[in-house]
């Protein structure tokens, strides 16, 4: 219900606030202003280079754990009514994933040098 208003008002607010600078702010262009920040010295590289693949490994491991955690939630909700079986199910599931976690650990996925 109220979410319709939420989107309308947030959208309006964004437009108003962002146009504030164009309305009120000074507009003095200067070629130096348009350059990337480099502590005042001329900048060294024209475009950014691809970054180390290392970062994507953390993203990948995160994705897998995120899926795992999401599965835990419905489980936690019905844990009280299933009790024994639920515990066994999750221990089996968790053991497989723990093996994966230890593998990634031993392979040095979390080392940063």
């Amino acid at each position: 219900m109220e979410l319709v208003f939420v989107f309308l008002i947030f959208g309006l607010l964004g437009v108003v606030l962002l146009s504030m600078n164009a309305l009120l702010g000074p507009k003095k262009t200067n070629p130096d202003k348009e350059k990337p920040f480099e502590c005042g010295s001329p900048y060294l590289q024209n475009e950014i280079k691809p970054f180390p693949i290392k970062f994507s490994l953390v993203a990948f491991v995160f994705l897998l754990f995120d899926i795992e955690v999401v599965f835990f939630f419905p489980w936690a909700l019905i844990f009280k009514e299933m009790r024994g079986p639920a515990l066994v199910i999750m221990l089996a599931y968790g053991a497989v994933l723990a093996a994966g976690f230890i593998y990634a650990w031993k392979k040095g996925a979390f080392e940063w040098d």
Binding site: E2, W105, W112
Partner: protein
């Protein structure tokens, strides 16, 4: 449409939405003042004390200044992503606030005024999910700037936010275990019935959640994405004016959001303390949202306190802390909680 129908269907929701927008902004203003003054006092400096009484108008002056700034976009930047990024960050954190309950419903005649915009049966996950959307604002902002400091800041920030989201998920789980609901309102109600706050039942969960929450919000000692001494200002180095303000407000809004979650999940939300002690029964007279605000201010102060106390982590230490300490600890804690829950 009758007159009262208009009031209840349109005016109150709109009023609530305006409140949801103003509340993080007001908190930002309070926090800027608090942070600058408190850190200054802790470091034996004065801090801003000129504008208004004890410098209380300083953040307003800062905000007004940002309105009047020139909007600079450097020529290598990607125009669309550069503009979208701050909106995305701001929008996602404000949207999450719609699901945060600020107090128990207030009864006015036959009408129940709820102190939240929407209640969802999966509110807790929704708030976490929506606030994780702001990662895109950070990564697009840093990348669209097409400059090295923002890019490095953005990369660090994303890896940090991702790494610490898992311990958060795992500790939240132990709360869900006991509350048997993912609904934020239900979680508070459950604590009111149990007459004990989950923070005292699950201290390990609380500590892990709080450490991860500080990292999630990119605050000291985990403020690597904005490490001034290394990266100028991290992912928002190239931003100015209102776009910078959006990133800034979103950061503080995030802190308020995370503190709200801590208060709701571990410290009874809007409940008055000492529910079992008859001598403290008079505390219940104070309305719920006042308790809520008091508790939130405590955690926001804790943020400032920690910032003034601890030195910054190194990036490899940060990753190691998340994956080799917090995640195994959270998993172990989760297992122990499950076993306790099984026996009970």
């Amino acid at each position: 449409m009758t007159n009262t129908g208009f009031v209840f269907d349109v005016l109150i929701p709109v009023g609530k939405i305006v409140a949801v927008i103003l509340y993080p902004m007001l908190m930002t203003i309070v926090m800027i003042w608090l942070e600058r003054r408190v850190v200054a006092l802790m470091q034996k400096r004065l801090g801003p004390n000129r504008v208004g009484f004890q410098g209380i108008l300083q953040p307003f002056a800062d905000a007004f200044k940002l309105f009047l700034k020139e909007d600079i976009m450097q020529d290598q930047a990607d125009p669309l992503l550069f503009k979208v990024a701050p909106v995305l960050v701001m929008f996602s954190s404000l949207l999450a606030f719609c699901f945060v309950p600020l107090g128990e419903p207030i009864r006015i005649g036959t009408y129940q005024l709820t102190l939240w915009i929407a209640q969802s049966p999966v509110g807790l996950l929704l708030v976490l999910g929506l606030s994780s959307i702001s990662v895109f604002g950070v990564i697009f902002g840093g990348w669209a700037s097409n400059s090295k400091y923002p890019l490095m800041g953005a990369l660090r920030s994303v890896v940090q936010i991702l790494s610490y989201e898992i311990p958060i998920g795992l500790t939240v789980l132990s709360v869900v275990f006991f509350a048997r609901s993912i609904d934020l309102v239900e979680i508070v109600n459950h604590q009111s019935q149990a007459k004990i706050w989950f923070g005292f039942m699950l201290p390990v969960s609380f500590v892990v959640f709080w450490i991860s929450a500080i990292a999630e919000t990119n605050r000291a000692p985990f403020d690597l994405p904005e490490a001034e001494s290394e990266l100028v200002a991290g992912y928002h180095t190239e931003y100015s004016g209102m776009k910078f303000a959006f990133f800034y407000i979103a950061e503080y809004a995030h802190m308020v959001l995370v503190s709200s979650l801590v208060v709701i999940m571990f410290f009874g939300g809007w409940l008055a303390p000492f529910p079992n002690v008859p001598a403290f029964a008079f505390l219940k007279v104070i309305p719920g949202f006042v308790w809520y605000l008091v508790k939130i201010m405590f955690f926001l102060y804790l943020y400032v306190w920690i910032r003034a106390t601890l030195p910054r982590y190194r990036f490899d230490e940060l990753i190691r802390l998340a994956w080799k300490w917090l995640i195994p600890l959270a998993l172990l804690n989760f297992l122990v909680v499950a076993l306790i829950r099984y026996i009970l």
